[in-house]
Protein backbone atom coordinates (compact mmCIF):
# COMPACT_ATOMS: atom_id res chain seq x y z
CA UNK A 1 0.00 0.00 0.00
CA UNK A 2 2.69 2.44 1.06
CA UNK A 3 6.25 2.08 -0.08
CA UNK A 4 9.20 4.30 0.75
CA UNK A 5 12.55 3.86 -0.94
CA UNK A 6 15.71 5.61 0.25
CA UNK A 7 13.73 8.63 1.37
CA UNK A 8 15.86 11.51 2.57
CA UNK A 9 14.95 14.99 3.73
CA UNK A 10 17.70 17.49 4.36
CA UNK A 11 17.00 20.95 5.79
CA UNK A 12 19.44 23.80 5.21
CA UNK A 13 19.92 25.75 8.41
CA UNK A 14 22.36 28.41 9.56
CA UNK A 15 24.33 25.69 11.31
CA UNK A 16 24.63 23.63 8.15
CA UNK A 17 22.65 20.69 6.87
CA UNK A 18 20.23 18.82 9.12
CA UNK A 19 19.25 15.35 8.00
CA UNK A 20 15.69 15.12 9.30
CA UNK A 21 15.03 11.86 7.47
CA UNK A 22 18.01 9.77 6.48
CA UNK A 23 17.61 7.01 3.88
CA UNK A 24 14.39 5.45 5.11
CA UNK A 25 12.86 2.38 3.45
CA UNK A 26 9.43 1.27 4.60
CA UNK A 27 6.76 -1.05 3.36
CA UNK A 28 3.31 -0.71 4.86
CA UNK A 29 0.61 -3.20 3.99
CA UNK A 30 -3.05 -2.58 3.18
CA UNK A 31 -5.21 -2.65 6.32
CA UNK A 32 -2.29 -2.50 8.71
CA UNK A 33 -1.81 -0.22 11.71
CA UNK A 34 1.80 0.83 11.43
CA UNK A 35 3.50 2.74 14.22
CA UNK A 36 6.58 4.91 14.02
CA UNK A 37 8.07 5.67 17.42
CA UNK A 38 10.87 8.01 18.33
CA UNK A 39 11.79 10.82 20.69
CA UNK A 40 11.17 14.39 19.61
CA UNK A 41 13.61 15.44 16.91
CA UNK A 42 13.95 11.89 15.57
CA UNK A 43 12.42 12.96 12.26
CA UNK A 44 9.11 11.16 12.58
CA UNK A 45 6.97 14.31 12.05
CA UNK A 46 8.88 15.07 8.88
CA UNK A 47 8.57 11.46 7.74
CA UNK A 48 4.79 11.34 8.14
CA UNK A 49 4.47 14.68 6.28
CA UNK A 50 6.51 13.26 3.42
CA UNK A 51 3.81 10.62 2.94
CA UNK A 52 1.25 13.24 1.83
CA UNK A 53 3.87 15.63 0.43
CA UNK A 54 3.31 18.37 3.02
CA UNK A 55 7.09 18.03 3.03
CA UNK A 56 8.86 17.20 -0.21
CA UNK A 57 11.59 14.57 0.13
CA UNK A 58 15.07 15.68 -0.91
CA UNK A 59 15.50 12.34 -2.65
CA UNK A 60 13.93 8.89 -2.79
CA UNK A 61 10.47 7.75 -3.84
CA UNK A 62 7.16 7.53 -2.00
CA UNK A 63 4.53 5.31 -3.56
CA UNK A 64 1.02 5.14 -2.13
CA UNK A 65 -1.59 2.91 -3.76
CA UNK A 66 0.62 2.62 -6.84
CA UNK A 67 1.02 6.40 -7.26
CA UNK A 68 4.45 7.97 -7.14
CA UNK A 69 3.58 10.87 -4.85
CA UNK A 70 6.45 13.20 -5.72
CA UNK A 71 5.73 13.06 -9.44
CA UNK A 72 2.04 13.98 -9.27
CA UNK A 73 0.88 17.27 -10.81
CA UNK A 74 -0.53 19.77 -8.27
CA UNK A 75 -4.07 18.80 -9.29
CA UNK A 76 -3.40 15.05 -9.08
CA UNK A 77 -1.68 15.57 -5.73
CA UNK A 78 -4.77 17.34 -4.34
CA UNK A 79 -6.90 14.43 -5.51
CA UNK A 80 -4.49 11.92 -3.97
CA UNK A 81 -4.57 13.85 -0.67
CA UNK A 82 -8.33 13.35 -0.46
CA UNK A 83 -7.57 9.65 -0.10
CA UNK A 84 -4.82 10.18 2.48
CA UNK A 85 -6.31 11.87 5.51
CA UNK A 86 -4.49 13.20 8.51
CA UNK A 87 -5.27 13.85 12.16
CA UNK A 88 -3.15 16.06 14.38
CA UNK A 89 -1.86 16.37 17.93
CA UNK A 90 -3.60 19.72 18.39
CA UNK A 91 -6.63 18.68 16.31
CA UNK A 92 -6.38 21.71 13.96
CA UNK A 93 -10.11 22.26 13.79
CA UNK A 94 -11.56 25.48 12.42
CA UNK A 95 -12.79 27.38 15.50
CA UNK A 96 -15.17 29.42 13.34
CA UNK A 97 -17.09 26.31 12.30
CA UNK A 98 -19.39 24.05 14.29
CA UNK A 99 -18.70 20.32 14.65
CA UNK A 100 -20.95 19.59 11.67
CA UNK A 101 -19.33 22.29 9.55
CA UNK A 102 -15.86 21.07 10.46
CA UNK A 103 -16.72 17.55 9.37
CA UNK A 104 -18.30 18.94 6.19
CA UNK A 105 -15.15 20.90 5.37
CA UNK A 106 -13.27 18.21 3.38
CA UNK A 107 -16.52 17.36 1.58
CA UNK A 108 -16.91 20.99 0.51
CA UNK A 109 -13.32 20.89 -0.72
CA UNK A 110 -14.06 17.76 -2.72
CA UNK A 111 -17.14 19.46 -4.19
CA UNK A 112 -19.92 17.23 -2.81
CA UNK A 113 -23.52 18.47 -3.27
CA UNK A 114 -25.17 19.90 -0.12
CA UNK A 115 -27.66 17.05 0.41
CA UNK A 116 -24.91 14.44 0.16
CA UNK A 117 -22.78 16.39 2.67
CA UNK A 118 -25.60 16.45 5.23
CA UNK A 119 -26.17 12.70 4.95
CA UNK A 120 -22.45 11.89 5.17
CA UNK A 121 -21.94 14.19 8.17
CA UNK A 122 -24.76 12.42 10.00
CA UNK A 123 -23.13 9.03 9.37
CA UNK A 124 -19.75 10.28 10.58
CA UNK A 125 -21.14 11.87 13.75
CA UNK A 126 -22.64 8.48 14.62
CA UNK A 127 -19.44 6.62 13.73
CA UNK A 128 -17.25 8.64 16.10
CA UNK A 129 -19.85 8.89 18.86
CA UNK A 130 -20.59 12.61 18.81
CA UNK A 131 -24.39 12.40 18.65
CA UNK A 132 -25.99 15.63 19.85
CA UNK A 133 -22.81 17.71 19.61
CA UNK A 134 -23.13 18.66 15.94
CA UNK A 135 -24.03 22.27 16.66
CA UNK A 136 -21.24 22.90 19.18
CA UNK A 137 -18.14 24.91 18.43
CA UNK A 138 -14.73 23.27 19.03
CA UNK A 139 -14.12 25.60 22.00
CA UNK A 140 -17.07 23.96 23.75
CA UNK A 141 -15.61 20.43 23.43
CA UNK A 142 -13.12 18.43 25.50
CA UNK A 143 -9.81 17.29 23.99
CA UNK A 144 -11.13 13.79 23.32
CA UNK A 145 -14.24 15.13 21.63
CA UNK A 146 -12.12 17.47 19.51
CA UNK A 147 -10.02 14.53 18.33
CA UNK A 148 -13.23 12.65 17.50
CA UNK A 149 -14.22 15.57 15.29
CA UNK A 150 -10.72 15.40 13.77
CA UNK A 151 -11.19 11.69 13.06
CA UNK A 152 -14.68 12.19 11.60
CA UNK A 153 -13.32 14.96 9.40
CA UNK A 154 -10.45 12.74 8.29
CA UNK A 155 -12.81 9.90 7.38
CA UNK A 156 -15.29 12.09 5.50
CA UNK A 157 -13.82 11.48 2.04
CA UNK A 158 -13.58 7.71 2.60
CA UNK A 159 -9.78 7.71 2.54
CA UNK A 160 -7.61 4.65 2.03
CA UNK A 161 -4.91 5.82 4.42
CA UNK A 162 -5.11 7.68 7.72
CA UNK A 163 -2.01 9.45 9.01
CA UNK A 164 -1.96 10.16 12.74
CA UNK A 165 0.48 12.85 13.85
CA UNK A 166 0.87 12.32 17.63
CA UNK A 167 -2.92 12.10 17.69
CA UNK A 168 -3.12 11.19 21.39
CA UNK A 169 -0.12 13.06 22.79
CA UNK A 170 -2.23 15.99 24.02
CA UNK A 171 -4.81 13.76 25.71
CA UNK A 172 -5.01 12.25 29.19
CA UNK A 173 -4.47 8.47 29.53
CA UNK A 174 -8.14 7.54 29.68
CA UNK A 175 -9.08 9.68 26.69
CA UNK A 176 -6.02 8.33 24.85
CA UNK A 177 -7.33 4.80 25.27
CA UNK A 178 -10.80 5.68 24.03
CA UNK A 179 -9.33 7.35 20.94
CA UNK A 180 -7.05 4.33 20.34
CA UNK A 181 -10.07 2.02 20.61
CA UNK A 182 -11.84 4.16 18.03
CA UNK A 183 -8.83 3.90 15.70
CA UNK A 184 -8.82 0.10 15.98
CA UNK A 185 -12.57 0.07 15.36
CA UNK A 186 -12.33 2.12 12.15
CA UNK A 187 -9.29 0.13 11.04
CA UNK A 188 -11.36 -3.06 11.21
CA UNK A 189 -14.68 -1.65 10.04
CA UNK A 190 -13.31 0.29 7.06
CA UNK A 191 -10.18 -1.77 6.30
CA UNK A 192 -8.26 1.48 6.59
CA UNK A 193 -4.47 1.55 6.56
CA UNK A 194 -3.28 3.63 9.52
CA UNK A 195 0.18 5.13 9.92
CA UNK A 196 0.82 6.78 13.25
CA UNK A 197 3.74 8.50 14.87
CA UNK A 198 4.14 8.70 18.62
CA UNK A 199 6.66 8.87 21.43
CA UNK A 200 4.55 6.60 23.65
CA UNK A 201 5.21 2.84 23.53
CA UNK A 202 1.79 2.42 25.10
CA UNK A 203 0.18 3.53 21.82
CA UNK A 204 2.32 1.10 19.78
CA UNK A 205 1.62 -1.74 22.19
CA UNK A 206 -2.11 -1.16 22.26
CA UNK A 207 -3.01 -0.81 18.60
CA UNK A 208 -0.10 -1.32 16.20
CA UNK A 209 0.62 -4.45 14.18
CA UNK A 210 4.09 -3.36 13.16
CA UNK A 211 6.47 -0.75 14.45
CA UNK A 212 9.48 1.18 13.23
CA UNK A 213 11.82 2.82 15.73
CA UNK A 214 13.38 6.08 14.59
CA UNK A 215 16.51 7.74 15.88
CA UNK A 216 18.33 10.67 14.27
CA UNK A 217 16.37 10.41 11.04
CA UNK A 218 16.98 6.69 10.57
CA UNK A 219 14.79 3.67 11.11
CA UNK A 220 16.99 1.67 13.48
CA UNK A 221 14.65 -1.22 14.11
CA UNK A 222 11.48 -2.50 12.50
CA UNK A 223 9.16 -5.48 12.77
CA UNK A 224 6.04 -7.07 14.29
CA UNK A 225 5.20 -5.38 17.56
CA UNK A 226 5.41 -8.61 19.55
CA UNK A 227 8.79 -9.53 18.08
CA UNK A 228 10.16 -6.10 18.83
CA UNK A 229 8.89 -6.46 22.40
CA UNK A 230 10.49 -9.90 22.62
CA UNK A 231 13.87 -9.13 21.11
CA UNK A 232 14.61 -5.46 21.13
CA UNK A 233 18.14 -5.13 19.76
CA UNK A 234 18.86 -1.39 19.78
CA UNK A 235 19.32 0.38 23.12
CA UNK A 236 16.64 2.94 22.19
CA UNK A 237 14.14 0.17 21.47
CA UNK A 238 14.92 -1.45 24.82
CA UNK A 239 14.18 1.90 26.44
CA UNK A 240 10.83 2.15 24.70
CA UNK A 241 9.90 -1.45 25.56
CA UNK A 242 10.71 -0.77 29.20
CA UNK A 243 8.22 2.13 29.15
CA UNK A 244 5.38 -0.38 29.10
CA UNK A 245 6.78 -3.60 30.54
CA UNK A 246 8.91 -2.31 33.33
CA UNK A 247 7.75 0.84 35.01
CA UNK A 248 10.47 2.76 36.79
CA UNK A 249 9.37 1.71 40.25
CA UNK A 250 10.00 -1.96 39.35
CA UNK A 251 13.73 -1.39 39.26
CA UNK A 252 13.62 0.34 42.63
CA UNK A 253 11.41 -2.34 44.13
CA UNK A 254 13.74 -5.12 43.02
CA UNK A 255 16.85 -3.29 44.21
CA UNK A 256 15.26 -2.69 47.59
CA UNK A 257 14.24 -6.33 47.83
CA UNK A 258 17.72 -7.60 46.97
CA UNK A 259 19.33 -5.44 49.63
CA UNK A 260 16.89 -6.73 52.28
CA UNK A 261 16.80 -10.39 51.23
CA UNK A 262 20.07 -11.19 49.48
CA UNK A 263 19.54 -14.99 49.53
CA UNK A 264 18.14 -16.91 46.56
CA UNK A 265 18.18 -16.05 42.93
CA UNK A 266 16.18 -13.24 41.32
CA UNK A 267 14.97 -14.10 37.85
CA UNK A 268 13.07 -12.13 35.25
CA UNK A 269 10.79 -14.26 33.09
CA UNK A 270 9.40 -12.90 29.85
CA UNK A 271 6.36 -14.62 28.36
CA UNK A 272 5.42 -14.09 24.75
CA UNK A 273 2.12 -14.85 23.05
CA UNK A 274 0.25 -17.95 24.31
CA UNK A 275 2.88 -18.71 26.97
CA UNK A 276 1.55 -15.88 29.09
CA UNK A 277 -1.38 -18.09 30.07
CA UNK A 278 0.64 -21.16 31.08
CA UNK A 279 0.74 -22.33 34.74
CA UNK A 280 4.52 -22.29 34.82
CA UNK A 281 5.11 -21.39 38.45
CA UNK A 282 2.89 -24.22 39.79
CA UNK A 283 4.90 -26.68 37.72
CA UNK A 284 8.16 -25.21 38.95
CA UNK A 285 7.20 -25.60 42.62
CA UNK A 286 5.71 -29.10 42.22
CA UNK A 287 8.54 -30.62 40.22
CA UNK A 288 11.57 -29.08 41.87
CA UNK A 289 12.39 -28.53 45.49
CA UNK A 290 12.47 -24.78 45.34
CA UNK A 291 10.57 -21.97 47.01
CA UNK A 292 9.24 -19.33 44.69
CA UNK A 293 8.45 -15.82 45.78
CA UNK A 294 6.67 -13.61 43.25
CA UNK A 295 8.01 -10.06 43.40
CA UNK A 296 6.25 -8.33 40.56
CA UNK A 297 4.45 -9.25 37.37
CA UNK A 298 2.67 -7.66 34.49
CA UNK A 299 0.86 -8.86 31.39
CA UNK A 300 0.54 -6.47 28.49
CA UNK A 301 -1.80 -6.97 25.53
CA UNK A 302 -0.56 -6.17 22.03
CA UNK A 303 -2.41 -6.54 18.72
CA UNK A 304 -0.39 -9.73 18.02
CA UNK A 305 -0.92 -11.35 21.41
CA UNK A 306 -0.05 -10.96 25.09
CA UNK A 307 3.36 -10.17 26.44
CA UNK A 308 4.24 -10.62 30.11
CA UNK A 309 7.09 -10.10 32.52
CA UNK A 310 7.42 -11.69 35.92
CA UNK A 311 10.06 -11.13 38.56
CA UNK A 312 10.51 -14.06 40.96
CA UNK A 313 12.89 -15.04 43.72
CA UNK A 314 13.86 -18.73 43.75
CA UNK A 315 15.33 -20.32 46.85
CA UNK A 316 16.66 -23.87 47.30
CA UNK A 317 19.80 -26.00 47.24
CA UNK A 318 22.36 -25.40 44.49
CA UNK A 319 21.37 -28.56 42.61
CA UNK A 320 17.65 -27.86 42.89
CA UNK A 321 18.26 -24.34 41.65
CA UNK A 322 20.27 -25.65 38.71
CA UNK A 323 17.51 -28.07 37.71
CA UNK A 324 14.84 -25.41 38.10
CA UNK A 325 16.79 -23.09 35.84
CA UNK A 326 17.17 -25.86 33.29
CA UNK A 327 13.41 -26.34 33.30
CA UNK A 328 12.76 -22.64 32.86
CA UNK A 329 15.15 -22.51 29.94
CA UNK A 330 13.50 -25.53 28.31
CA UNK A 331 10.01 -24.00 28.18
CA UNK A 332 9.59 -21.20 25.69
CA UNK A 333 10.13 -18.41 28.14
CA UNK A 334 12.90 -15.86 28.12
CA UNK A 335 14.88 -16.14 31.33
CA UNK A 336 17.21 -13.52 32.66
CA UNK A 337 18.88 -13.94 36.05
CA UNK A 338 19.37 -10.52 37.52
CA UNK A 339 20.81 -11.43 40.91
CA UNK A 340 23.03 -14.32 42.15
CA UNK A 341 23.53 -15.87 38.73
Amino acid sequence: MINLQSVRKVFQTKDGEVKAVDTVDLNIKQGEIYGIIGYSGAGKSTLIRILNMLERPTSGTVTIGGKNMSELSPKKLREARQEISMIFQHFNLLWSRTVRENIAFPLEIAGYPKAKIKQRVDELIDLVGLEGRGGSYPSQLSGGQKQRVGIARALANEPKVLLCDEATSALDPKTTDSILDLLVEINQKLDLTIVLITHEMHVIRKICHRVAVMEQGRVVEEGDVLNVFKNPTEPITKDFVKQVTEPEETVDTIKQFISEFPEGRIVQLTFIGGRAGQPLITELIRKYEVDVNILQGKITQTQNGPYGTLFIQIKGTESALARAMEFLNSVQVEVEVIHNA
Binding site: R81, I84, S85, N92, L94, F105, I109
Partner: protein, 222 residues
Protein backbone atom coordinates in the same frame (compact mmCIF):
# COMPACT_ATOMS: atom_id res chain seq x y z
CA UNK B 1 -33.67 76.78 23.32
CA UNK B 2 -31.22 75.46 20.79
CA UNK B 3 -30.97 78.88 19.19
CA UNK B 4 -30.05 80.50 22.51
CA UNK B 5 -27.25 78.03 23.19
CA UNK B 6 -26.09 77.76 19.60
CA UNK B 7 -26.97 81.12 18.03
CA UNK B 8 -24.72 80.78 14.99
CA UNK B 9 -25.59 77.23 13.98
CA UNK B 10 -27.58 76.87 10.78
CA UNK B 11 -29.23 73.51 11.28
CA UNK B 12 -29.86 72.71 7.64
CA UNK B 13 -26.18 73.38 6.87
CA UNK B 14 -25.14 71.23 9.82
CA UNK B 15 -27.36 68.38 8.59
CA UNK B 16 -25.90 68.67 5.12
CA UNK B 17 -22.33 68.60 6.53
CA UNK B 18 -23.14 65.52 8.65
CA UNK B 19 -24.49 63.74 5.59
CA UNK B 20 -21.32 64.57 3.68
CA UNK B 21 -19.13 63.23 6.47
CA UNK B 22 -21.17 60.03 6.67
CA UNK B 23 -21.11 59.69 2.89
CA UNK B 24 -17.32 60.12 2.65
CA UNK B 25 -16.71 57.77 5.58
CA UNK B 26 -19.09 55.05 4.39
CA UNK B 27 -17.85 54.88 0.81
CA UNK B 28 -14.20 55.02 1.81
CA UNK B 29 -14.64 52.35 4.53
CA UNK B 30 -16.23 49.94 2.06
CA UNK B 31 -13.56 50.42 -0.61
CA UNK B 32 -10.76 50.42 1.99
CA UNK B 33 -12.06 47.14 3.38
CA UNK B 34 -11.81 45.32 0.04
CA UNK B 35 -8.61 46.99 -1.11
CA UNK B 36 -6.94 46.55 2.30
CA UNK B 37 -8.06 42.93 2.49
CA UNK B 38 -6.60 42.22 -0.94
CA UNK B 39 -3.34 44.01 -0.08
CA UNK B 40 -3.14 42.32 3.34
CA UNK B 41 -3.71 38.90 1.81
CA UNK B 42 -1.04 39.64 -0.79
CA UNK B 43 1.37 40.66 1.97
CA UNK B 44 0.63 37.51 3.95
CA UNK B 45 0.57 35.03 1.08
CA UNK B 46 3.81 36.23 -0.53
CA UNK B 47 5.73 36.17 2.77
CA UNK B 48 8.47 33.51 2.88
CA UNK B 49 7.25 29.96 3.44
CA UNK B 50 3.64 30.82 2.64
CA UNK B 51 1.27 29.73 -0.14
CA UNK B 52 2.70 32.10 -2.76
CA UNK B 53 6.02 32.72 -0.97
CA UNK B 54 7.90 35.23 -3.14
CA UNK B 55 10.51 37.43 -1.52
CA UNK B 56 10.66 39.97 -4.35
CA UNK B 57 6.90 40.49 -4.68
CA UNK B 58 6.60 40.61 -0.90
CA UNK B 59 9.14 43.42 -0.54
CA UNK B 60 7.56 45.41 -3.39
CA UNK B 61 4.12 45.26 -1.74
CA UNK B 62 5.62 45.97 1.68
CA UNK B 63 7.40 49.08 0.39
CA UNK B 64 4.25 50.45 -1.27
CA UNK B 65 2.23 49.83 1.88
CA UNK B 66 4.84 51.39 4.15
CA UNK B 67 5.31 54.49 1.99
CA UNK B 68 1.60 55.32 1.77
CA UNK B 69 1.05 54.50 5.42
CA UNK B 70 3.86 56.88 6.45
CA UNK B 71 2.87 60.01 4.51
CA UNK B 72 0.93 62.39 6.78
CA UNK B 73 -2.63 62.51 5.52
CA UNK B 74 -2.76 66.25 4.95
CA UNK B 75 0.33 65.99 2.71
CA UNK B 76 -1.08 62.93 0.94
CA UNK B 77 -4.15 64.97 -0.10
CA UNK B 78 -1.89 67.57 -1.70
CA UNK B 79 0.33 64.99 -3.37
CA UNK B 80 -2.71 63.25 -4.81
CA UNK B 81 -4.27 66.40 -6.31
CA UNK B 82 -3.25 65.57 -9.92
CA UNK B 83 -4.46 61.98 -9.48
CA UNK B 84 -7.77 63.11 -7.98
CA UNK B 85 -8.30 65.67 -10.77
CA UNK B 86 -7.66 62.92 -13.29
CA UNK B 87 -10.22 60.46 -11.95
CA UNK B 88 -12.83 62.71 -10.25
CA UNK B 89 -12.41 65.80 -12.40
CA UNK B 90 -12.52 68.29 -9.53
CA UNK B 91 -10.87 69.06 -6.20
CA UNK B 92 -14.08 70.20 -4.52
CA UNK B 93 -16.80 68.19 -2.81
CA UNK B 94 -17.07 64.89 -1.01
CA UNK B 95 -16.19 62.74 -4.04
CA UNK B 96 -12.90 64.54 -4.44
CA UNK B 97 -11.87 63.43 -0.94
CA UNK B 98 -12.37 59.74 -1.67
CA UNK B 99 -9.13 58.92 -3.55
CA UNK B 100 -6.97 60.40 -0.80
CA UNK B 101 -9.04 58.78 1.96
CA UNK B 102 -8.76 55.34 0.36
CA UNK B 103 -5.09 55.63 -0.59
CA UNK B 104 -4.33 56.76 2.95
CA UNK B 105 -6.41 54.14 4.78
CA UNK B 106 -6.06 50.98 2.66
CA UNK B 107 -2.34 50.39 3.44
CA UNK B 108 -3.09 51.02 7.13
CA UNK B 109 -5.82 48.38 7.06
CA UNK B 110 -3.66 46.04 4.93
CA UNK B 111 -1.13 45.83 7.78
CA UNK B 112 -3.89 44.98 10.22
CA UNK B 113 -5.18 42.31 7.86
CA UNK B 114 -1.69 40.85 7.61
CA UNK B 115 -1.36 40.73 11.41
CA UNK B 116 -4.80 39.11 11.67
CA UNK B 117 -3.81 36.42 9.15
CA UNK B 118 -0.53 35.72 10.95
CA UNK B 119 -2.50 34.96 14.10
CA UNK B 120 -4.19 32.00 12.39
CA UNK B 121 -2.97 28.65 13.65
CA UNK B 122 -0.58 27.28 11.01
CA UNK B 123 -1.83 23.78 11.75
CA UNK B 124 -5.27 24.66 10.42
CA UNK B 125 -3.76 25.72 7.10
CA UNK B 126 -1.74 22.50 7.06
CA UNK B 127 -4.90 20.49 7.76
CA UNK B 128 -6.67 22.15 4.83
CA UNK B 129 -3.69 21.35 2.58
CA UNK B 130 -3.71 17.75 3.76
CA UNK B 131 -7.35 17.51 2.62
CA UNK B 132 -6.38 18.58 -0.88
CA UNK B 133 -7.67 22.18 -0.67
CA UNK B 134 -6.72 24.58 -3.47
CA UNK B 135 -5.14 27.93 -2.58
CA UNK B 136 -8.43 29.70 -3.34
CA UNK B 137 -10.27 27.32 -0.99
CA UNK B 138 -7.67 27.95 1.71
CA UNK B 139 -8.12 31.73 1.32
CA UNK B 140 -11.92 31.79 1.30
CA UNK B 141 -12.70 28.85 3.57
CA UNK B 142 -9.85 29.08 6.09
CA UNK B 143 -7.90 32.35 6.13
CA UNK B 144 -10.79 34.82 5.94
CA UNK B 145 -13.34 33.00 8.16
CA UNK B 146 -10.70 32.17 10.80
CA UNK B 147 -9.59 35.80 11.07
CA UNK B 148 -13.00 37.55 10.97
CA UNK B 149 -12.97 38.95 14.54
CA UNK B 150 -9.58 40.59 13.93
CA UNK B 151 -10.63 41.75 10.45
CA UNK B 152 -13.75 43.41 11.90
CA UNK B 153 -11.97 45.05 14.83
CA UNK B 154 -9.33 46.23 12.36
CA UNK B 155 -11.86 47.82 10.02
CA UNK B 156 -13.50 49.46 13.07
CA UNK B 157 -10.22 51.16 14.00
CA UNK B 158 -9.68 52.08 10.34
CA UNK B 159 -13.21 53.51 10.03
CA UNK B 160 -12.60 55.76 13.03
CA UNK B 161 -9.33 56.93 11.51
CA UNK B 162 -11.24 57.62 8.29
CA UNK B 163 -13.77 59.83 10.08
CA UNK B 164 -10.92 61.97 11.34
CA UNK B 165 -9.34 61.97 7.87
CA UNK B 166 -12.64 63.30 6.43
CA UNK B 167 -12.41 66.23 8.82
CA UNK B 168 -8.93 67.00 7.51
CA UNK B 169 -10.11 66.56 3.94
CA UNK B 170 -12.88 69.01 4.76
CA UNK B 171 -10.39 71.75 5.45
CA UNK B 172 -9.10 71.58 1.88
CA UNK B 173 -12.55 71.77 0.35
CA UNK B 174 -14.22 68.40 0.64
CA UNK B 175 -17.12 69.59 2.80
CA UNK B 176 -18.45 67.72 5.79
CA UNK B 177 -18.24 68.45 9.50
CA UNK B 178 -14.51 69.18 9.46
CA UNK B 179 -15.05 71.82 6.81
CA UNK B 180 -17.93 73.30 8.80
CA UNK B 181 -15.92 73.46 12.01
CA UNK B 182 -13.03 75.16 10.25
CA UNK B 183 -14.75 77.53 7.82
CA UNK B 184 -17.89 78.48 9.81
CA UNK B 185 -16.54 77.85 13.27
CA UNK B 186 -12.89 78.82 13.44
CA UNK B 187 -12.60 81.29 10.53
CA UNK B 188 -15.72 83.22 11.51
CA UNK B 189 -15.08 82.87 15.22
CA UNK B 190 -18.30 80.95 15.95
CA UNK B 191 -17.22 78.67 18.79
CA UNK B 192 -20.69 77.09 19.02
CA UNK B 193 -20.40 75.77 15.45
CA UNK B 194 -17.01 74.21 16.18
CA UNK B 195 -18.37 72.68 19.36
CA UNK B 196 -21.43 71.09 17.80
CA UNK B 197 -19.43 69.80 14.83
CA UNK B 198 -17.03 68.15 17.23
CA UNK B 199 -19.86 66.65 19.22
CA UNK B 200 -21.38 65.14 16.09
CA UNK B 201 -18.04 63.63 15.02
CA UNK B 202 -17.69 62.09 18.50
CA UNK B 203 -21.16 60.57 18.23
CA UNK B 204 -20.29 59.07 14.83
CA UNK B 205 -17.05 57.60 16.25
CA UNK B 206 -18.77 56.12 19.31
CA UNK B 207 -21.47 54.53 17.20
CA UNK B 208 -18.87 52.97 14.87
CA UNK B 209 -16.91 51.60 17.84
CA UNK B 210 -20.05 50.19 19.45
CA UNK B 211 -21.20 48.45 16.26
CA UNK B 212 -17.68 47.11 15.62
CA UNK B 213 -17.38 45.70 19.14
CA UNK B 214 -20.78 44.04 18.94
CA UNK B 215 -19.96 42.34 15.63
CA UNK B 216 -16.49 41.24 16.80
CA UNK B 217 -17.90 39.63 19.95
CA UNK B 218 -20.68 37.82 18.11
CA UNK B 219 -18.25 36.42 15.53
CA UNK B 220 -15.68 35.12 17.99
CA UNK B 221 -16.40 31.47 18.85
CA UNK B 222 -12.97 30.74 20.34
Amino acid sequence: MLSTWFPNVQWDVLLEATKETLYMSAISVVITFFLGLALGLALFLTSPGNLWGNKFLNSVIAIIVNVFRSIPFIILIILLIPFTRLIVGTMLGAEAALPALIVGAAPFYARMVEIALREINKGVIEAAKSMGATNAQIIFKVLIPESTPALVSGITVTAIALVSYTAMAGVVGAGGLGNLAYMEGYQRDNADVTLISTALILVIVFVIQWIGDRITTSLDKR
